[in-house]
Amino acid sequence: MIGLVVIAQAVAQTPVEKFLNALGSGIALGAIYALLALGFVIIFKATQVVNFAHGAIAALGAYFVSYFATVSNIPGRWMGDIAPTLSWTLSALLAVALTALIGIIIERITIRPMIGEPLFAVAMITLGLDLIIRTITNDLMDNTNQGLGDPWGVNVIEIGVFRIAQTQVVTVLVLIAVGLALAWFFKSRTGVAVRATAFDQEAAMAQGISVGKVFAIAWAIGAGLAALGGIFASLAPRGAGVSPFTAFVAFRAFPAVIIGGLDSVKGAIVGGLLVGVAEVFAGTYLNSVSWLGIGFGGIVPWILMMIVLLVKPYGLFGTEEIRRV
């Protein structure tokens, strides 16, 4: 939040500049939310599990990066002289892979036995997992900020009056890459199996699809995307590293999911961007409105979510549940 304010107010601004810069930051923040929301939606779509532990998994992934890149220099230590950007990217990828593995383990141990149980009971399990993972992660990072050692820092790209942090550009690029990769994935053989399982588990099974494998794949992708979101949420200008607060930033991706619709991949991206832009605009334009109080930007996503739900109870793109007696 502080970093954002600095960037937004570093130069004297005309209203147009203020608007453009807020829009840029908003889209970048929205990209973070979209990454988190995507992982969440993929898990929900494939396995019908609302993953409340998503924020904790995101923070865990970011912590792995901080550990690999700043403490132990993995994998850079075995690779001789390589560019810091490359070595950091490798650390980040390794962290994402490790988080994906943890996602698979979580699915196998705690979610698989719950197939067929009521949705809320499974959601409660993930709330329990959230407590476990969050507490252990917080303890690992000593309850303080741990820098991620990223090569971009607080560097800024200036195009005329338009200023945007390098990390924010990277975030948006990563979101585009992830979006394209997912679009390809859902057309591939495995992806079609995932979609079939999402549509009807029993029918998918009857067609020879291993539903268990699909569950594992969905959780791996979901946890990996959570880690990506967590990493970018803890980079400047959003934050100065991974901290106990990171999990709560990730919590704000939930309204994005709901606004888009729990089971819509398209909705996750749209919802994420919408929430990000709304939050930054509220922070830019409403901070001077004193009666709104401090930190109003942080609850704008939730208020937006409630308004959307009152108009469209299944979100913007969510499938309406057909209810029978």
Partner: protein, 424 residues
């Protein structure tokens, strides 16, 4: 119908509060235990009357009030709510604005308890009614997210409404539990200060091993809260076995079918939200008053999760389960703490279980084995963190292994002994 307790010949007896002799006896026994508990007079469990344990017992009872309310909403009416801490906060802040002392930075009317306590429940109930239309429109997991949003919006409000909630890091003091006629008058009864034994409790001295003349402030708070717990449990039980509760259960089981049969869905959900919020408001007000000072951050998601966990661990939809769940969730952290400390002394004194302690506890910065560190030796969970983790593990394990909760375990044990020595 001797020996056939499950054979009912009239609807009246099936709906009865305590249908069987066993139930009547066990309720009476529970009553005696409840009377003896705060005076260290229970055989074997006398330690529960020590002030450290009494604080926890009181906390459990206060939580039980809130959990009874959430049980009506989640367990009976089937409306998933993660926003219970929000309604508790509404109750608590109503109480402090009406009953608290006014200061330079905070509002307070200084009214007596007989005004602020019912008002806390009523205001929370009104807020519940305002939220209910959302529940009619939004269902299932979407409702869980709406109530989750309430918690975050609430936290924002309490942080910014300094006049109501006090400073973000300091909070403000709550009015004490004492019954006075009007503001600034001497209290008729104080439920927090030590004093002589209340006259109506003197019959317990007839028991041969009991001889009590004084009672502590904790014991008085205990009886005060216990009164509300009993009243609220009875109301809850009565709601569940009569028309209102049955309409809620119908909505829970299949809302469209309920509507087709003539149950008014919107009305039922609104009732459930209102009554559950009333319970939450009262629980929040008493909790804050007993704790004395609460910061705005106390009404967070963790509190809400605790309540949902209490219901799920205890057994959703049952009054007995609520009590099992609360006592289990609130008292077990203390047991973990005591056990860890005992293991630590085993290590330092070289007792029989020192090896277990060595495996479990980090005793120095060079000790890399163990998951708990009693001092701040870098990695290693503190006892508080250990309890949070164990709490999470408990939720997960219970839901996987015993979805009906502690109440389900009790049913299994009971059914086993009913047919003993035969399997059925």
């Amino acid at each position: 119908m001797r020996g056939r307790p499950n054979l009912y010949t009239e609807y009246q007896s099936e709906m009865g509060l305590f249908p069987t002799t066993t139930k009547k006896v066990s309720i009476a026994l529970l009553g005696v235990i409840a009377l003896l508990l705060p005076f260290n007079a229970l055989p074997l469990f006398g330690f529960l009357g020590d002030s450290g344990w009494m604080v926890l017992v009181n906390k459990s009872l206060i939580y039980a009030i809130g959990a009874l309310g959430l049980n009506l909403l989640v367990g009976v009416a089937g409306q998933v709510s993660l926003g219970h801490s929000f309604f508790m906060a509404v109750g608590a802040y109503t109480a402090v604005v009406l009953g608290g002392e006014a200061g330079k930075t905070v509002w307070g009317l200084g009214l007596p308890m007989w005004i602020w306590l019912p008002a806390a429940g009523l205001v929370a109930a009104v807020v519940g009614v305002l939220i209910a239309p959302t529940a009619v429109r939004v269902r299932g997991l979407y409702l869980a997210f709406v109530t989750l949003g309430l918690v975050f919006i609430g936290l924002f409000l309490w942080r910014n409404l300094g006049k109501v909630a006090g400073g973000p890091t300091t909070g403000r003091p709550w009015p004490e539990l004492e019954l006075a006629l009007w503001r600034n008058m001497d209290p008729i009864i104080s439920f927090t200060s030590d004093g002589p034994l209340w006259w109506w409790l003197t019959p317990i001295n007839w028991l041969p091993w009991v001889d009590i003349e004084e009672m502590s402030g904790h014991a008085k708070t205990y009886f005060f809260v216990l009164f509300f717990v009993v009243v609220f449990a009875l109301v809850s039980k009565n709601l569940m076995r009569t028309r209102v509760g049955r309409s809620w259960a119908a909505i829970r089981d299949r809302d469209i079918a309920a509507e087709v049969m003539g149950v008014a869905e919107a009305k039922g959900k609104t009732q459930a939200f209102a009554i559950s919020s009333f319970y939450a408001g009262i629980a929040g007000a008493i909790l804050a008053s007993v704790v004395g000072r609460m910061i705005p951050e106390s009404w967070d998601l963790f509190l809400a999760i605790e309540f949902v966990a209490i219901i799920l661990i205890g057994g959703a939809g049952t009054v007995a389960g609520v009590f099992l769940g609360t006592f289990f969730v609130i008292l077990s952290p203390r047991l973990v703490e005591d056990l860890t400390n005992w293991l630590a002394t085993q290590v330092t004194e070289g007792g029989t279980f020192a090896w277990l302690g060595n495996l479990f506890i980090r005793t120095s910065p060079d000790d890399y084995i163990g998951i708990v560190s009693l001092d701040a030796y870098g990695p290693g969970l503190s006892i508080f963190q250990l309890n949070v983790v164990l709490f999470g593990v408990l939720i997960v394990v219970f839901l996987i292994v015993e979805p009906l909760g502690l109440y389900g375990i009790w049913i299994k044990v009971r059914n086993y002994w009913k047919g003993w020595p035969f399997t059925y």
